[in-house]
Symmetry: C2
Subunit: 349 residues, 2 copies
Amino acid sequence: MANDDTKEPLLLGSQETGAQKAKRHLNQRRFLRSRSAPDIDHAPLVTNDSESIPLSESIFGILHPSLKKVAIYLMVYLGVGAIIFYLVRNQIKGLKTHRFLDAIYFTIVTMTTVGYGDLVPDSDLTKILACAFVFSGMALMGIILSKAADYLVEKQEVLLVKAMHMHEKVGPSEILKELEMNKTRYKFFLVFSLLLILIIVGTIFLVTVEKLEIIDAFYCVCSTITTLGYGDKSFSTEAGRIFAVFWILTGTICLAQFFLYMAELNTESRQKALVHWVLTRKTTNFDLEAADLDHDGVVGAAEFVIYKLKEMGKISQEDISLVMKEFEQLDIDQSGTLSVSDITLAQSS
Amino acid sequence: MANDDTKEPLLLGSQETGAQKAKRHLNQRRFLRSRSAPDIDHAPLVTNDSESIPLSESIFGILHPSLKKVAIYLMVYLGVGAIIFYLVRNQIKGLKTHRFLDAIYFTIVTMTTVGYGDLVPDSDLTKILACAFVFSGMALMGIILSKAADYLVEKQEVLLVKAMHMHEKVGPSEILKELEMNKTRYKFFLVFSLLLILIIVGTIFLVTVEKLEIIDAFYCVCSTITTLGYGDKSFSTEAGRIFAVFWILTGTICLAQFFLYMAELNTESRQKALVHWVLTRKTTNFDLEAADLDHDGVVGAAEFVIYKLKEMGKISQEDISLVMKEFEQLDIDQSGTLSVSDITLAQSS
């Protein structure tokens, strides 16, 4: 699963790679960028993006590359699932509505691990197929969680900040700055609002179309978005299953994203507390000695930055040693600093 | 949920805070530590640990504090769940065995979101209770995933490396070094092995005790560890449900951990590729200019380290600006460097 060049964190929405993080940061902060910031946007990144696929003319053309990729995966998964379970429909027992609709509904219920049990495999073949689809479905859900959801949320954040400051006059740069400061909090509120809407819409739908009692409808909603899926209440009508195909997918992803952002908020507040402590504690002579990387008796600005960032846990001794090794190679005249002459020497050798 | 001082990432096993990461790194590498490493072990970390709870004499005394906390949460959750669902047992319908056992089995099936549906709520009260338990259960599963599992795996890793090098003579420091280099890979293999064992044990158990066909047993195992839980096959005997209480919990956590480590391996390999690119690309005059933090025309070792780490995406311009601000405050004589005299001046003022 996902063993091509698109390798990505599966379950961790926020565990993006350094390259992505740097890219995102730079994209958001281009207007703030100091002249010491590396020009990573133009760096030949090691990973290929799917932009080489000539799909830009198609319906996916307007989407972000990573979102496009996820959309393609999802469609392939659902398409293959629907066709396969349509072909073996006689080996699936339970409450049936429309043939093809049931196949895609069964694929969604399996992929999201909701597993109501209103439709269950009834042969060895379909049981093995269900096993294969649930494992690959979990991986796909992870990819969706880590890529698409984050991207969509980022798109909507600007609207949210705008809406929250409707009475004030704020320019786009103020909005970006505000977003930057409280990014995770906005993401959290956005996903929380979306979750509430999905819960309300789902409950109303189950009451009106599936004719459930209101408590039963809410219970079915909770049982679905958490992927619990006892299955005593589920979508039993044709209209219900059409709705379910879209609603189950968004609902389960939305709740998972909600928990992820809650965790992120948590981590962030701990991280902020540590940063605050590192920056406000008294600097002692011992600190100076420890921070003096080149042992010249004084601590330069850059040495101080490295020392403090290491204390914050943002970088490790390994990271530093690795770069120091390259520095020593580049410092051909062994002056302890890199100058234009070192570069010239390196180019001529 | 978890709204006390133990606030922790919920779903992200690897999203530890900087403090934890720094602490872990330092613990593992104490023998490697250079004199420039900050003495974070002795720093008054801002978060309180539960060590202040006088439980060290009890059965949990031998456990790691964070593991102890998770164990307590889990026991409270299961205890409360078992008691509540025991009290409302007449409002739960389905296949019943032993009263109290069914209550705890129902709690586990709900908490892990397996939701077979062999036991289902049969009143408004129990439906609302199930909703409450599945949401808090998801949060608890996240906490378990992020803390206990990681800790247990780390404990077992040393044994794994030892076993893999049985024919060679390796000392404890070589083992630690090897572990450090391939940490994620070892974690992944360990969890994968554990998962295989759990799948095999579960299948054998279902065949022998629950008298299922082998395919059905395997299908029930897959359906359970993925939390799919269609419910056509589940644990229906008293012995089966005793086994299920332990096996479902470990199985679901193990599979989730497996996916997390797979994602981590992925992220790591992308990160390594970026680091490699950053370290091997040609340094140009443009780089020198960009890296020259103090604008003195040459690039010192520390400036070079900062420039490269920023290029790797490990630190951001914000991180640097934040520390630079503190540096400027500390540099009382405005010499551009911190020396003992700055510290003395700061203390006297």
